[in-house]
Symmetry: C2
Subunit: 338 residues, 2 copies
Amino acid sequence: MATKMNGQTLIFQNPPHIIGHASVVGPEEGKGPFGNSFDLVCDDVKCGKDSWEKGEKQMATDALNQTLGKAQLDPSDISFMLGGDLLNEIITTDFVARDQDIPFLGLYSACAVMVEALGLGSILMDGGFADCVLALASSHYQTAERQYRTPLEYGAQYPPYKQYTVTGAGAYALGWLGGQTWITHCTFGKVLDLGVKDSNDMGSAMAPAAADTILQHFMDLGRGPQDYDLILTGDLGQTGKKMLLSLLEEKNVNVKDKLEDCGALIFGGKKKYGSGGSGVGASAVMLGSVFIPKIVAGEINRLLLIGTGALLSPLTVQQEESIPAIAHGIVVEKIPGG
Amino acid sequence: MATKMNGQTLIFQNPPHIIGHASVVGPEEGKGPFGNSFDLVCDDVKCGKDSWEKGEKQMATDALNQTLGKAQLDPSDISFMLGGDLLNEIITTDFVARDQDIPFLGLYSACAVMVEALGLGSILMDGGFADCVLALASSHYQTAERQYRTPLEYGAQYPPYKQYTVTGAGAYALGWLGGQTWITHCTFGKVLDLGVKDSNDMGSAMAPAAADTILQHFMDLGRGPQDYDLILTGDLGQTGKKMLLSLLEEKNVNVKDKLEDCGALIFGGKKKYGSGGSGVGASAVMLGSVFIPKIVAGEINRLLLIGTGALLSPLTVQQEESIPAIAHGIVVEKIPGG
């Protein structure tokens, strides 16, 4: 049997196809430069429900249903659903799963959870443990702010490096037939903590973990930036992206012309959104709605997606802990002849 | 290739060995009937730290280190560490992982997370994606009560069916060499919600999910209670255990002489602990310290462990949602000739 693992990197022998995906976003994301790319833009962050949390659940449910529709799948075709979100006890994804008749595996790695779900889903597929997998993740500005920082009603002032949580949900179906892209590799990261304590400065907290996973991925596969058309991080924002560039430069790895960040892109760099978007919604919606179409169109051949997660809670902040972070990566490529 | 999946059940072709395990518990668990079975009984629920949460982290770290020691493993031998706990953003496990140089996959399924970690860990092993996996889970009475219900200082009165969260951490190393037991099957469950809204009544909320996963497991494998020496649930408590027996009897499945519950057992049925223990700590410490030794001694040949998780959060309780629940199962057997 060919090598399936090298260091922290898994090399899929039977890479699963991404046979469907859909994204649902809120009004702010809809006003951004990629507004027309998303499947559904909600003009109400509660989606007509009576709480923000129920609105987030509705967005995630809509993303799931649109994905099933696009891939022409019935829920009974799905072997396992994997996913998570940013809320305590991942209640968004739990409650979406409650309404589905699909075995469910709950995950938590903060904003890295979309990539964790796609990576573990690929393992289930490649290993012969599933015929079809659904990966799901979401975040929501209003639900995240009141949980992690202060309720919006307080009108707190924030520093310019603060990010703005993306309101968005993304779902992906992995299967064997159909689709034009597949997931060929996966690198699961380690938890790093370089001592950042400011819960507004997620980008700086997460950049070292992103650098570590990228360098590990290159080392494991004997690759470098030249082997990728795009290295796409999840939600470092402009501040974290700059820091990542510096950290990689220190190791003589130059990705300046190859690096983009979903969070830094999604709001078009407007000052209102500080350093850019954060939240797993950023990678969850941008991969499928913006970058997979570029792969399909031949503008990009091989993409390394690095999901970045800050593993803090309000309680660890109160207890004066610094912010641990993690980064997981997957490689998405065009299926040859696909 | 032989069938690896049947319905929701995965059949491991190369079942991973449990090559080491360790349990750390608090003083209340130490006073119970299995007090002498655990590797370490702490007489201080803070483990000398300045908060309960830091105490829980210390217990989980101790369980991890004792497991590595028993299995004669160096952290660098571990391909991946998987696990979770009950605290918001799984901070116990995140912060344990921060101190380890091991790639980490965070999971959340409330008190089902020990079984989720062992199941996914077995998939990584059987599929050739890991040489060695570490699975870790913990819960803690004081940290859980103040997060899920009320701070203990309030002295709230509770109904008799209320359970008492187990203070305990369990860690398991999966590998190919050594050990006398292995994990042969895994059944991942669906999220069920029959409308229970009382966050003190976890047993009743979780029993339907446990019944569903047990019945699915039997159906997938064409097995029944006669094929198991013990069906062991995680933390239904006495109330939930009775309900599970009734639910299975309705389906003409009689497990009366085969069913035990880690939570109902751990405190010896004393009134002080209500309906018994809850929390993922119950299954995390009882499997390794009480039941694996029984398998090794030949008292039990084949055990079905059903981890049971209640997927509520204080916020969903406040928003008047009912309590979704999930149950995941693994089969643990004596290795033939082992």
